[in-house]
Amino acid sequence: MGEKKDVWQGTLALMVLKTLESMGELHGYGIARRIEQTSGDVLSLNYGTLYPALLKLEQEGAIVSEWGVSENNRKAKFYKLTRVGRKQIERETNNWEQTTAILARFLRGTEDPA
């Protein structure tokens, strides 16, 4: 197991939204595990930080929640994307792609002349 990376500020919300987009309805624990899996177990996610993030997204109207029962019969709150949330994914994905593209160009630029 290599060195784990912390979650960057502001990226957790997008990860949550993307997870919900691909998985449909999911509870908090499921989302946390899924994020870790998707990152190839490289990210070290503090599960506790997930819940305020979920609450924030819910307050912003990007997701809605509903009580349900998990696959192994535990009571859990399930989160689901809304239309607002889908739009937010689209917008933030664009942002990230732009940012990473720019950053990528810089990184290449410093390596190329060598």
């Binding site: 624990y29 595990r33 506790g48």
Partner: protein, 884 residues
């Protein structure tokens, strides 16, 4: 957008936090269970599985805390806590809270109420479009800076000026209107054709006067005021186009003015007719007959100064052209606003300043109360600080308390202000209100609310800063230790004492102002009238011109009327005059003496037409010669009685009796012989100098308008209805108006009213300021005694006498008071200069007033420090020493 939604959800979350936390607890519980299940599947023991799950979560309590903060708005959450805490603090100390709120709301109510008047009268007095380009245009002569225009002068000014887009004129007029209940005199206005257009007013119904409608050749038309339309014509729209009879002449109603229309110089006018110059009114055609006031709209970019210079140049040209009539006739142009509110501006500003000072004292007083309180909370603050509250957090608590205190007081103050301003409005005499139509706007409006809000913000800043500054947080640790009281007490005593000096100084200034205004008012009501104003009923009478067309008819009718009135029960004497005494200088004429060189100067004197017993009815003193004889009418030689001022000015070393005088051309008809000199009975208003005056026998120059003066041995007010009915029994067609008494005329005159109201209001402010100042001084001394209990105990244990202790405390109060009074007296010398325009018969540095105020304040200060001094003297040294 999404931020706003989130903020609102968080704010709402404050009120459902318990339910949300419960829900989150079970969500978290579910989370842990699922994690533990998974871990156990992976082969951990139950114990390991749980520990790992909790570790991955990053701590239960931390998670809960993070969730809670996200769920609500922490800022508001704290605010809510602080507010509840502040409210508890305030209700725990009801004495402090009630005193502070009362003082503050008193100050706020006074300031806001006065500001409501200032706002209505000074900020937007004219309800016309672009009021800044409207000007008041009049002539000016040596004795009157604002003298009326003559019609020929007006025509020339209008033609020759380059400054006015339009120049129009108005003149008060009276008409007798036929009503179902008899003939009623109705006030009206004669105006030039463009009058309403110049003001920018369009009629509600019908049309404005058209150009040229004010010429003699045009048909006679009238525009009704909204009130007259409603009151006299039932608001019927068909009235436009119909004919009404005014003093026997038919006029066609062409329009009705909007309800909002007001014209302060004569707002009670019901009928607006055009000039029709040159008809029966012979005055209109004479350049020497001045009865008009001009109102003009300046051209774009023309200043008042330019317009004034322009008009003055025209006046000079006319002076050269018509030396007989226009010699000495200058011009005045001032803003219409100035003409309308110039009189009451100084009083309103003085009142606003008075109210502001009162507010300042209230603030200072509350601030020192807060100081005392924060002193006693020093330990509480120290404990909270020691437990980890940041200075910012502690300061926020004080700000919250300040805001709460000020908000409560402002609300209460605002409500009181509304009632106070309505009460003040009701105190204004009914006769004066028509001249102040702008006061209709007094009340709660945006300006007033903003003003109140500004005061509130200022007060909040003061009250939040006071305790914060005092409890400088560096000293916090000291607060926890017992012995620190001494040093902290010194700190507070210094600030508190300085605040008290400031309070007493302000109170001194207000008291001096009130004293000067009160003295002015007293002087005003006791000016020499040179007649006896009690037991005189007054009434103005208008004979219908059509019926009493000839002079002999007027003379005969008046004589019969006076005969009938003189036999009424209680009536001892009855007379008439063309203008009642104690109204104003004016209705002047120019005189010239027979046998003296004349270079065309205008000897301007008051002119009154009076019946023979006018002087005996008023009980005015004859100085030389004789009064008029009852039979002196047009068939007898013309005579004149002059007043003493006239004799002194024109006959300084001569006997005026027997001298003859006439008009400026000495036309044979105008020549009269001086037969008597009377005392200067006051024709002018109370605060003016009475001009030289001439009195002519009413029967030698009869007029259909005259004022009755009736002296009775009984109640003069009760006589008025009988007077009116007696006149109407004689002829139902005679109009009567302005039933009053001489005393009322004097006491309710505008001059008296302005002086009285300013004296009473500033006096009220000063009394409250004195009271607040005493409370402040008492507070400081009492607090100091409380702090020094132990010291006093030691002194007494060492042998100090009770009287000595008492004297020591009194001396402390006396020193503060003396300092406050001296500072206040020095300041008031500067401040009262601003009062000068409101003072009458008293200097702004009046020694009596200054000394009186100083004595009053010393007495008040001794009283305020006597109580705590007594308490200090009665301290039991044993108990005082044991107490700590």
């Amino acid at each position: 957008m999404k931020n706003l939604r989130a903020a609102m959800r968080r704010f709402a979350g404050m009120f459902s936090s318990a339910r949300r936390e419960e829900e989150f607890a079970s969500e978290l519980e579910g989370h842990l269970q699922m994690h533990i299940d998974d871990n156990m599947h992976a082969g951990m023991t139950a114990e390991e599985a749980r520990r790992d799950a909790l570790a991955k979560l990053g701590g239960m309590e931390r998670t809960r805390q993070a969730y809670r903060e996200r769920g609500t708005a922490p800022f508001f959450e704290t605010l809510w806590q602080d507010l509840r805490f502040a409210l508890r603090q305030l209700t725990k100390n009801p004495g402090f809270t009630i005193t502070a709120v009362l003082m503050l709301s008193l100050g706020i109510a006074a300031s806001v109420a006065i500001f409501a008047f200032v706002d209505a009268a000074l900020l937007k007095p004219l309800p016309y479009e672009d009021p800044r380009t409207l000007v008041d245009v009049t002539e000016s002569v040596a004795v009157f800076p604002h003298a009326n225009l003559s019609y020929p002068d007006y025509l020339d000014w209008k033609k020759m000026n380059h400054s006015f887009r339009s120049l129009d004129i108005y003149q008060g007029a009276g008409y007798l209107l036929d009503t179902p209940s008899g003939v009623e005199p109705v006030t009206g206005m004669r105006v030039s054709d463009g009058f309403f257009h110049t003001l920018g007013i369009a009629p509600l119904l019908g049309r404005d006067f058209y150009s040229g409608e004010d010429l003699l050749s045009a048909p006679r038309t009238v525009i009704l005021s909204y009130t007259a339309w409603q009151k006299r014509f039932g608001g019927r729209k068909e009235i436009v186009g119909q004919s009404v009879s005014l003093s026997g002449t038919p006029y066609v109603v062409v329009g009705v003015l909007p309800d909002s229309f007001e014209f302060a110089p004569r707002n009670n006018a019901e009928l607006w007719t055009t000039m029709h110059a040159g008809g029966a009114n012979t005055c209109d055609l004479r350049r020497s007959c001045h009865g008009l006031v001009g109102v003009a709209r300046l051209k774009d970019g023309v200043s008042i100064a330019t317009a004034l210079a322009d008009t003055k140049a025209i006046a000079q040209q006319l002076e050269r052209q018509y030396p007989d009539s226009n010699r000495g006739q200058g011009a005045t142009v001032q803003s219409l606003t100035e003409a309308v509110v110039g009189d009451i501006r100084p009083i309103l500003l003085i009142l606003l300043a008075g109210a502001g000072l009162l507010l300042l004292i209230a603030c200072v007083n509350v601030a020192s109360l807060l100081l005392v309180r924060s002193e006693s909370r020093r330990r509480e603050i120290a404990v909270r600080g020691a437990l980890g509250a940041s200075p910012l957090r502690l300061a926020r608590q004080f700000v919250t308390e300040g805001v709460l205190l000020v908000c409560g007081s402002s609300l209460l103050g605002l409500i009181c202000a509304i009632f106070a301003s309505q009460a003040l409005l009701r105190l204004i005499p009914k006769e004066m209100l028509p001249h102040m139509p702008y006061l209709r706007a007094v009340g709660l409006n945006l300006h007033v609310v903003c003003f109140a809000a500004a005061i509130a913000v200022m007060a909040t800043v003061i009250f939040s800063l006071t305790p914060i500054v005092q409890l400088s947080f560096g000293e916090m640790r000291e607060g926890l230790t017992e012995g620190s009281r001494g040093s902290a007490g010194v700190f507070w005593r210094k600030i508190g004492a300085n605040l008290t000096v400031l309070e007493l100084a302000i109170a001194t200034v207000l008291l001096v102002g009130a004293g000067l205004l009160g003295k002015s008012f007293y002087h005003l009501l006791h000016v020499e009238l040179n007649f006896q104003p009690d037991h005189l009923a007054t009434l103005s009478v208008a004979l219908p011109e059509k019926v009493y067309a000839k002079d002999e008819q007027v003379v005969a009718a008046r004589r019969q009327l006076l005969d009938r009135i003189s036999v009424l029960p209680g009536v001892t004497s009855v007379a008439t005059t063309s203008q009642l005494p104690v109204t104003m200088n004016g209705n002047t004429e120019w005189v010239r003496f027979v046998g003296r060189p004349y270079n065309g100067e205008h000897n301007e004197v008051n002119e009154r037409d009076v019946t023979a017993n006018f002087f005996t009815t008023l009980k005015a003193k004859l100085i030389r010669g004789r009064f008029f004889n009852p039979d002196e009418d047009a068939t007898k030689p013309r005579v004149v009685i002059i007043n003493e001022a006239f004799a002194k000015l024109y006959f300084p070393d001569q006997d005026p009796l027997g001298a003859r005088m006439g008009d400026t051309t000495l036309s044979p008809k105008s020549i009269k012989e001086i037969v008597g000199v009377v005392d200067d009975l006051r024709e002018s208003s109370l605060d003016e100098q009475t001009l030289p005056a001439v009195y002519y026998p009413a029967d030698q120059s009869p007029d259909v308008y005259f004022n009755l003066i009736v002296r009775t041995s009984q109640d003069e007010k009760a006589l008025l209805p009988t007077l009116v009915s007696t006149i109407h029994q004689f002829d139902r067609g005679i109009g009567t108006a302005d039933e009053s008494t001489m005393m009322l005329n004097i006491e309710e005159s505008q001059t008296a009213y302005l002086h009285r109201s300013s004296a009473w209001l500033v006096g009220g402010f000063a009394a409250l300021a004195l009271l607040l100042g005493m409370i402040g001084l008492y507070g400081v001394i009492a607090y100091s005694v409380g702090q020094r209990t132990r010291e006093i105990g030691v002194r007494m244990a060492l042998g100090a006498q009770r009287e000595m202790v008492q004297r020591m405390i009194m001396r402390e109060g006396g020193r503060l008071a003396a300092l406050g009074i001296v500072v206040g007296l020095v300041c008031s010398l500067g401040v009262t200069v601003a009062l000068r325009s409101m003072l009458f018969g008293v200097q702004s540095w009046d020694v009596g007033t200054l000394a009186g105020v100083a004595v009053l304040l010393v007495a008040a200060a001794l009283l305020a420090s006597y109580v705590p001094a007594r308490r200090a003297a009665s301290i039991n040294p044993v108990e005082a020493l044991r107490a700590e």
